[in-house]
Point group: C2
C-alpha cells in the first residue's frame, strides 16, 4: 500500500463513523442530520462532527432545506459522486474497453478498440495506453483526477498485478499491469482476472445483486467462470479459483469446436446462433453439442458449490434465447438441484464494470484512513 | 429455535462481553481479572461484572491465587469444560459411532457398532438408540446433562435435520433425525452431512486447523467431499455443496470398482492396499486406476476453489502411504497449482468429532443469550 498519497489521519472510530455516514448517503436520497443519525445509529453530535469533516473534504455537499419546511430549516447532505473519478479497463483477447465513471460507478465515457489475440505485447500495451488516454480526454478528465483504477485482464493474475498465465494471449504472460498502469494514473491500481470481475459486477449491480452464492459463466470464444461465495468474490489461495476449464473432463476446451465446425471457414460465431434461432437443424445440433460440453464443467461448479444462481455472461449471452433452455436441461441431467439461471444484462461491458467495482472497493478501503489522491483533499 | 429451554436474558452487549471472556478463558491457562481485561479489551469493571455472572452460572470456576503471589492475591478464573456435556454421533452406511465429550470436545466415552447398509430404517434407528444409551451410560451421563447434540448422517441433510437423499442407504431418505434425537436428549440438536462434518473437524482441530480454504476428501467405500471456504464450512444454498461425486465425468462413481475387481469375491478393500504396499503389481495397478478416477473429481474441486490444502480422510486414509503420491501426480497433471496434500489424523473418528464441533457451535451461539439447558443454570 505504498502507492496512495497520504493525508491527515482519522482515528479508527471516526473512520468507521465516516464510512457509515457515507454509505447511508450513497444509498439514499439527501438526508438531514436527524435522518442520518437515525440510519447510522450514531449520536447527533457524532453525526454532525462527521458531516462537517466530510463537507470539508468535499465528499458530501450541503443542500438547501426542502421546500415548504416549517420552523428552523434542516440542512440536508448528499454524497458527492462527482468528487472523484474511477477508471475501469477490460483487456481481453479480442478487445480493450476503458471506462471513466464517477464515485457511484455511473459511466461518463468509454472507448472500445478491437485487438487481435495475435498482436505482440508491446503493440497491445501501446493500444491500451491510447485507449485509456482517449477515454480520459473524452470525459474531460486528467489522470490526477482518477482516484482509483481497476484493470481486468484475460489470464491468471497474481496479487501484485502480474499476469501469471495467459493461454489465449501467450505474449501476455509475465506483463505487470499494475506497474504499467501506475505510469498512466497516480492513484491505486488493482488488477484481476476478467471472469472474476464480471462475476463481481453481477454481484454489485447486476442480476446476482441479492444472491449470496453464484456461479458466473463467461460464455464466449473462451469459457470461464467466476464465483461469488457468501456475497464475496472468491479468489482462491493462489488467485486461481474458477479455472475448471483447464480440466479436459469439464468439456470447455472442446466445446467451441462444435460451433467452428458448423461455421466451416466463417469466423463469426454469432452466425450459428442466428441460424439456430431461425430453426436451422444443423445449427441447433451444433449449439446443443456446444452446450452439452459446457454443461459438464458448469455442473461440476454447481455440484461443488450448490449456488442459488447461475449467471450467463460474456459475448454469447446476447444469444441467451437459444442457449438457456438447453443448458437448463443439461444441468437438470447432472445436478442434484438445478439453480435458477439468469442472463447478464451487461453485454460486453460486464468485465469493465467489474473493474470499476474493484477500483471502488479500493477507494472505500483506503479513503477513510485519510490516504487519498491529492486532488480529493 | 423452539427447542432450547429459556433462562434469564442478558443484554446483547453483555452477551458479547461474556463470549469474549469465555473465549479467552477457553483458549488459555487460568487468567486474573487484569489479564482478562487486557485480552478482551473490556474495562476492568465490565470484566469483573461478566466474571461474577459466569461464576454464578457455573461456566467458569475461581482458582486459589498463584503460589508465591506477593501483596493482595489476585483471583484467577478458569473455563469449566465440565460444566456441560456434548453428544456427537456419526451414522454411516456401515457403522454408528457415538461419543460424549466435555465443553472443550475432550472425548469422555465412545461406542462404535457395525451396521449393514442393507438393514431397514426401523432397525437402524433402534441400533442408533442403543448406541447412544450405551455411550451416555458409559460416561456416567444422563440425557439432561447433554447441552447440545450434533449428528452426522450419510446422505444430503436439509436445514431441519431431515435426510433429503441417501444413495448408499436408500431407506434412510426421509428420516427426520433432529426429531428422532429430540426424543433421546433435551438440548438443541443439529444434523449435517457426514463429509461436511469431517471437513469441519479438520478445520477445528485437525490438519486443516490454520487453513482458510480446504478441500476435504472422504475416501472410503464411497467418496465424498466437504469444503472449508474462508475458514468456514461451506454448505451451499440447498445444503448440497461438495456433491461433485454425482457427476459421472468426475470419476467417483466408477472409482471403487477397480478395487473390487482386484478383490474378486473378497470384501475387505484393505487387502488391496496391503498387497500394493507389499509390491503386488496388480494391486498397485488397481490402486493407481482408483486414484486416477478419484483425481478427476478432486481436480475439479481444486480447480474450482483453488484451496491451499487437500485433506484425505475416511476409511482409506489409513492407507495414505500408498495413495498420496499417486494422487499428487494426478493432481499435478490436471491442476494449475497442486495444493499441499495432508492426511487426516482422526482415522474413523473424524466425522463424529465434526458432529461434536457442530454441537459446540450451537452451544456458543445460544448459551450467551441466556437460553441454556436447565442443568446449566
Amino acid at each position: 500500500m505504498t502507492d496512495e498519497p497520504s493525508g491527515g489521519d482519522l482515528s479508527r472510530l471516526r473512520q468507521l463513523n465516516a464510512l457509515s455516514v457515507l454509505r447511508a448517503l450513497r444509498d439514499e436520497r439527501p438526508l438531514t442530520l436527524t435522518e442520518l443519525a437515525k440510519r447510522t445509529g450514531l449520536s447527533r453530535a457524532s453525526t454532525e462532527d462527521v458531516a462537517r469533516e466530510l463537507l470539508a473534504r468535499g465528499w458530501v455537499s450541503e443542500l438547501a432545506p426542502a421546500v415548504g419546511t416549517v420552523g428552523r430549516p434542516a440542512r440536508r447532505y448528499r454524497f458527492r459522486a462527482d468528487a472523484g473519478r474511477i477508471l475501469g479497463v477490460d483487456i481481453g483477447g479480442h478487445k480493450i474497453l476503458a471506462m471513466v465513471t464517477d464515485l457511484e460507478g455511473v459511466v461518463l465515457n468509454q472507448t472500445r478498440v478491437a485487438v487481435s489475440p495475435r498482436i505482440g505485447r508491446r503493440e497491445r500495451l501501446a493500444m491500451l495506453d491510447d485507449c485509456v488516454t482517449t477515454t480520459l480526454a473524452g470525459a474531460g478528465v486528467t489522470p490526477d483526477q482518477i482516484w482509483s483504477t481497476g484493470v481486468a485482464s484475460t489470464g491468471l493474475v497474481d496479487g501484485t498485478g502480474n499476469v501469471m498465465l495467459s493461454d489465449s494471449v501467450p505474449e501476455w504472460t509475465g506483463v505487470n499491469l499494475a506497474a504499467h498502469f501506475r505510469r498512466l494514473v497516480p492513484g491505486p491500481v488493482r488488477v484481476e482476472n476478467d471472469c472474476k470481475l464480471a462475476a463481481l459486477a453481477e454481484s454489485w449491480r447486476g442480476v446476482a445483486r441479492y444472491a449470496g452464492n453464484v456461479v458466473f459463466l463467461l460464455a464466449g470464444l473462451r469459457t470461464g467462470a467466476g464465483l461469488i461465495i457468501d456475497g464475496k468474490l472468491h479468489r482462491g489461495f493462489g488467485n486461481a479459483a474458477g479455472e475448471i476449464g483447464a480440466l479436459p473432463a469439464a468439456g470447455w476446451l472442446r466445446a467451441p469446436q462444435h460451433l467452428y465446425d458448423w461455421l466451416g471457414g466463417g469466423d463469426d460465431v454469432e452466425d450459428v446462433f442466428l441460424a439456430a434461432r431461425d430453426g436451422d437443424r444443423t445449427a441447433i445440433r451444433a449449439v446443443r453439442a456446444y452446450i452439452r460440453d459446457i454443461a459438464v464443467g458448469a455442473s461440476a461448479l454447481v455440484l461443488t458449490l450448490d449456488p442459488e444462481l447461475v449467471v450467463i455472461g460474456g459475448g454469447f449471452s446476447r444469444s441467451a434465447d437459444v442457449l438457456v433452455e438447453p443448458l437448463r436441461r443439461e444441468l437438470d441431467r447432472w445436478c442434484l438441484r438445478t439453480p435458477e439461471i439468469r442472463v447478464s444484462g451487461f453485454g460486453a461491458e460486464g468485465v469493465a464494470l467489474g473493474a470499476v467495482r474493484l477500483a471502488l472497493e479500493q477507494v472505500e478501503a483506503t479513503r477513510y484512513d485519510g490516504k487519498l489522491p491529492v486532488s480529493a483533499i
